[in-house]
């Protein structure tokens, strides 16, 4: 396979999963849209660099998720002190009338999850099956199901409390 062919194949795969990458970037970093594009590019570059090691024994979406997740965790470690919340980002870049309480609910709730819980939650919402989640996280199939149940209960509690606060 020539370099050009490999690049075309890679780009096609990225285009197929670009929204997935973007959502992972957003949920992990809680970044504003301007920063999201940078994170997206970082993730794509990381994938390109490791594309040769992708043996295609797992689904492309699983591989894409794994690399993006790792890139975001790496980013958070490096820029822990520089991270802005979505709210702050909105204040700077976005007009107040576009403030979206639902997005804020989601990001706040996800931020309250433990890192491993966040992994499971995002993969579940992205439609990964339990065995695929187990494959990425290294957990057992049963453990994935158990924790997902617990995460959903936790999220429901968080969201309910946030609603009650908002409409008081």
């Amino acid at each position: 396979m020539t370099h050009k062919e490999k690049q075309d194949e890679f780009v096609a795969m990225i285009k197929q999963h670009e929204r997935l990458i973007l959502r992972i970037c957003s949920l992990y970093t809680n970044s504003c849209r301007a920063e999201l594009c940078d994170l997206y590019q970082d993730a794509v570059c990381a994938m390109w660099e490791s594309y040769d090691s992708f043996r295609r024994e797992s689904k492309p979406s699983t591989w894409v998720y794994s690399v993006t997740r790792y890139t975001m965790l790496n980013h958070m470690r490096k820029h822990r002190l520089e991270t802005m919340s979505l709210q702050e980002c909105d204040k700077e870049d976005v007009a107040d009338d576009s403030y979206d309480p639902m997005l804020e609910d989601l990001h706040d709730a996800v931020a309250l999850l433990q890192p491993e819980e966040r992994d499971l939650f995002i993969m579940w919402m992205e439609g990964f099956k339990n065995d695929e989640i187990a494959q990425v996280t290294g957990l057992g199939y049963g453990a994935v199901a158990t924790r997902l149940t617990r995460i959903k209960l936790k999220l429901r509690k968080i969201l309910k409390e946030s609603k009650e606060v908002r409409y008081e």
């Binding site: 690049q7 780009v11 096609a12 990225i14 285009k15 670009e18 929204r19 973007l22 959502r23 957003s26 949920l27 849209r33 999201l36 594009c37 997206y40 794509v44 570059c45 990381a46 660099e49 490791s50 090691s53 043996r55 024994e57 797992s58 699983t62 591989w63 794994s66 690399v67 790792y70 965790l73 790496n74 403030y99 979206d100 309480p101 639902m102 997005l103 609910d105 989601l106 890192p115 491993e116 919402m125 065995d131 187990a134 494959q135 290294g138 057992g140 199939y141 049963g142 453990a143 199901a145 158990t146 924790r147 617990r150 959903k152 999220l155 429901r156 969201l159 309910k160 609603k163 409409y167």
Partner: protein, 492 residues
Amino acid sequence: MSKKVYNTKGNRYIKELYKHFSDEMDKVVLPSADELVKMLDQYDGKERKGAPVIVPVVPLKPRRKVWHYAAAVLLLVGLGTAGWFYFGGQEGPLTASTTSDNGDSHSNVLPQREQQETLVADSNAVTLPDALDGTSNDNTFLAQNDDASNNERLYSRDHQHIESFDYDTQIKTDASINGNLADAAMTDTDTAMGMQDGKEATATVTPSNPVVSAGSDHRAVQPETDDNQALVPEDVENKTLNETRHYSDFTDPRQYFYQSSSYNDWMITFGAGVTAMAVVPEFWSGAHTINEKKLAHSSIAPSFKPVVSASITGCMDYGERFSIWPFLYAEINSQGWRAKFDSIPDNPAGCTYTIELKSVRIGAETGVDMEWLVRPRLGLTGGLGVGNYLGLMQRTRGERHLNATGQLMPGAENDWMKYNWDGIPSAVFCATGRLGLRYYFKNDSFLQLGLNYRVCSGDLTGNDKMYLPYSVFCLGYKERTLGMMLVYGISF
């Protein structure tokens, strides 16, 4: 601001939030394919500083359920072993195939030792029942003494041999009789020669002087004359209905032929109590990676939890051959609930099967339930539980009375399946625990080497004390799903 108020119950709201989030993300403009190509070309041509991006090692092969199959195989092997142990590995029931005078063949299954006792006052006396009267069609009869030799002998007229079974040594000897013992009953005098207890034996029988001599051992013979039941005093027969009979229990000096029995014992108990459980220090080694961090976990976590429990247990006891305690147990405690089934053999060498289902709250519980943090791992655990158990024990027992040939005694058949209910209020105190080592594999399978023990006091009557170390080696598997954990294992 959105005025829509969602029902926050259920997962629908979460999904709607995520859908809304996805819709918002779809509005973000991302680089086109051409722009991506340019970006990659630029990235390839750029000299990057620092360490290259580390790409996580993603397990690419699907997880194999090897341990599921292994656990199933082990379970089957264990069941087979147990089956062999209980049904095949011990001496089978004494049977004698005989042919009656009219040519019909039939087989008598003689009851086990606890179901056959011949009680005689004189240790040298032996009772030979109906075969000597010459009228019975049964060619097999039993003679047994309860002297110190603790032997049971089966004289067979058909096969012309003496089978002797020593319960102390568990050795069965089979000696051919040189002669015909049956003829001895029908003629005036006869002598049977053979090997008995490893030495030459001579049996001499005369109607006027019914003595069987075995070597120098002279034994009185008390021929039975009245269809199998003449030698059972009424008071003895009635008395035995409510007794647990052991060989050494019979000290009645009277000479009689005790013709009984087989019995079933079932005990059903219900109770409630408070159990305090302490978890002693646990030490774990191994590594589990969470977010690229290796975690090691050790715990010193004594925990005390109030417990309300109920259990049903029964003892299936068939002589000395088969005795097992199935144990159903349910518990509600401060941290959740637990239900388990134990099948505990009434001897330390047997297998214990355990299936346990319990709620799991990772993080809320300590000790064993934190095992998920460490994998693979080697754990040293120990525990001691002390609790009391108050309950009412009901026993049902059926008996049947058999004659020496294994046939139901006339007039006694109704005792079989006629249960006696003995309401015994009991207070049993038990200490249970486990001391051992467990090695856990990645998928919650484990090997355990250690000692499970259960020590219980007797009930109010002082009976049924139980000191039971019931497993040393255990293979098990844990499955966590839907907030519950299933543990099943085989202990040896």
